[in-house]
Subunit: 200 residues, 2 copies
Amino acid sequence: MSTPSSLEELIEALRCLPGIGPKSAQRMAYHLLQRDRKGARRLADGMSHALEAIRHCSRCNTFTESDVCERCASTKRDASLLCVVETPVDMNMMEQTQAYNGLYYVIMGRLSPLDGVGPRELQLDRLLARACDGEVQEVILATNYTNEGEATAHYVSELLRSRGIKVTRIARGVPVGGELEYVDAGTLAQAMRERKNVEA
Amino acid sequence: MSTPSSLEELIEALRCLPGIGPKSAQRMAYHLLQRDRKGARRLADGMSHALEAIRHCSRCNTFTESDVCERCASTKRDASLLCVVETPVDMNMMEQTQAYNGLYYVIMGRLSPLDGVGPRELQLDRLLARACDGEVQEVILATNYTNEGEATAHYVSELLRSRGIKVTRIARGVPVGGELEYVDAGTLAQAMRERKNVEA
């Protein structure tokens, strides 16, 4: 006399979504079945379709529907520069700056030993192979300035430099528009250490 | 050169989930495609299956896979009592008390004029028809003691009493194990007003 089995299965399945516990999953299932069956239909179909269509670009590893993504296939980008980011979102952020016209490699994560994510899980050998294609002259590490992002950048730079590839890291410092009063001490200390000559 | 269309559609579709905005939807889509394709497959299938299998019990309006749910079909329940609750979760909570052996009617919501949910949206005429089946002797209103739950109880009681049906409301007062020091003033005031004779 309890919940119908197909409803129970749906509630259980919803828990694969990040950050969704049993209570939220139940609330979601009830909401969809009661108030938004059209949305639920669209979600089920959209998910099936994405699972079939989406794969990883064989060059930059980002999500794409073809073997090589549009950006990697473009002849207008500078193939001598390879910018390494953690996620597709980071890549989009970088693109929005319009300050970079090279290519990318998306790690799809970061080193996180506590969560069992090591170099093998991230398939960093694919990044190595990509960077050693002969065309790439400089690898720019643009992982986050978090502990995990820093560790990832360190690991990747060791990996690449041992192959004689030039590796750089995006700059750290006071944000544009930032006031010293409100910048954290760590950032300010780095900005001081990494100070640059003022050009005439 | 942006997000593949099937990925964009999935992100958009995920926003039908309650409480999920654009950032969360993006995070969920990336997580599923990158880390849990099996879970995503299960979710898509589970949702399709539930949408096909789940409907409303023709008697109590709860979710079920058959025309009449197990509970309504049971001959062991007291058909003269009808307990009105807002959601299937509330019904399960009431069942867990093992203090009630009558039948239920699940409104699947509450009156909420600001959200455009009125008596018509809740199909309260179905509740009326159910309560007037001749067998029901008492309708017990067990909607929440929130403003909306109270308004719903008030509306339903007016509706039913005009048909000469006995209507009761679950008691309000100090929770079992509750200490006066920590009970809110409104609850305490109600407990005082609705005080009962101590039986010998």
